[in-house]
Subunit: 133 residues, 6 copies
């Protein structure tokens, strides 16, 4: 499937592209959106969700980029590591923070499998409702 | 494999258990460590790594718990979701923050596959060295 | 490991290659089979299974190609996306259908993780035997 | 996180629940939506996407349920296998079709890894633009 | 789907069950095969492949059980961990060996993600043909 | 992130590099370690774990390389397949053994999903403590 540029796009796709550019203050949308424009319904839904959830909320926007990177490393999505790594740096992530992020992701992938391997049952303490503040 | 309690443990394992209890200010270690005690070398290495990386550093300890949860959801590790969900709440995560975390993890898993499906090439802008501040 | 061409292959491998070519009405087998020929036993088993299951049966052959693509996107197997994407187009898949497929795969990967994150218990209705017609 | 029933829900969540019930002609929403209601923004986005993509389009609705099951098996999401297995049967899937689906998913997961193991390069034929009708 | 017992099975399934019992010298097949019997073609193919590959060959049968466990831990397949853990013990695996296996699987899952995170390029030495003896 | 050469490295990283070179009897460390050197704490922990677990123990070192490859194929980590494939060959793995390994990994990934698809319950025999010798 080929990417669809602004010039090639119909009005439905252009409206999403315009909103991405205005929201992110960029001159052009990145390649992910141009490819997703092959399915205008999904382009619209994904952008609506990402705009809403990745913007200001209960978690810091930089933190949300780091979470995105963590998932992308785990799934080995090269494009997503590159795009969200770029976004994280644009939002102020330091090299030290990214290195520490990679360390945490590595450890989590290891202990996830160790927990599987030993079929560790969930501790009662983690289940007690009163445990949560 | 059965969990190994403090009473059943040899001196090498007890030393790790003691350090976990002192570091975390808890009366007993959780079930993950008791199972991992079946392999004392790995118990020692995993604890050394986790103690070092998950403690104070370049990223906030709560943030690192959230990253751990993000990976554990992606890998569907029930034990790890429970233990790090508990830890995140102990470190102050609000329900609103956890809900937003789940949303980000859901979106990342979706867009990871959309990027795969369209084989989106990495944008030049993401590769430029000068792009990073 | 290097691919094994028809000329280089022994009689056991040639027999499988001949059957693939006859079944698919193609002049040569694709690179997957030439690599798998390094393990003639597995070449034989995989082809026997694929020939049997992917041919006429209870599901339309095109549909089975789409299912193959869905799994390959989820696992990020570039070769498999390319080969089964090609096969799907050869069997009549339209670009609109492939785009919709990608959307479904994206959504499923998202909701899989949301179901994990909330540890949603299976509804009784889904378990009732009488639920199935 | 606890599920949120219609009675406990605020107007934003109720509006989504009402739309799910009307669209699907069911008396109550299933547990997935009640849990997702803890994050009303995501409830709204996920439902909007699912309603749009899983309904009538370029692929048969039953086929889309089968694709959903294929992804859910690959990711080992028990809830999603149960809910979409139920939906597939409601839309007419026969036991023979589901068994064949499982076979295809098993084969795809095997050949995905064999393609990885041999690092099979993508055949030129799969890349040629003229290959696609 | 319900498991199919020997008594309920047709001749095609019974023939496979008989061969499993004779090959493994067991009185009954385990639940995996009884479920797979819902798709007799796949039962036959999977058994033919497993019998051929998991038996005597270039790798020790115990080693092959350990590899099976490593994959099953990585994919979090509880059934497969249990069945191949049992088989490994029957073939002589010690608890020390299983613990060391779990450690290797944990480490591999960690370093796989660290290699992803840093996008480490493959060293020339690993690619040189003369590198292989 | 850029790799860090011995010349660029600080004393903490150099000490690890020196130990890798002495342990493995190589002139330079491979690219994985040079990248991981961006996070000296993790470099130190990962090397300590790998040195300890992958060396002499309860399982043959070659066998442990094969397990590493099995996990890396399952996760589709190209770097890790290349580096541990090289290490396995250096430790004496034959092409026949590697081909058989790939076959086992393929089968395990297939039967993992078939066990998921049929939600096969764990056989009582696999749970009985007396089952283990």
């Amino acid at each position: 499937m080929k990417p669809i540029s602004y010039e090639q796009a119909g009005p439905e796709v252009r409206a999403v592209f315009d909103d991405i550019k205005a929201t992110r203050k960029v001159k052009d949308v990145n390649d992910f959106w141009k490819h997703l424009a092959n399915e205008p319904r999904m382009l619209s839904h994904v952008w609506a969700s990402v705009k809403d959830i990745m913007g200001p909320g209960h978690l810091d926007p930089l933190l949300k980029e780091l979470i995105y990177i963590a998932v992308s490393i785990t799934n080995n999505c090269e494009y997503c590591m590159a795009s969200h790594g770029y976004a994280a740096r644009m939002k102020g992530a330091s090299e030290e923070q990214l290195n520490e992020l990679y360390a945490v992701v590595g450890l989590a992938n290891m202990t996830n499998r160790l927990a599987n391997a030993y079929s560790v049952p969930v501790d009662d303490a983690f289940k007690r409702e009163e445990a949560a503040p």
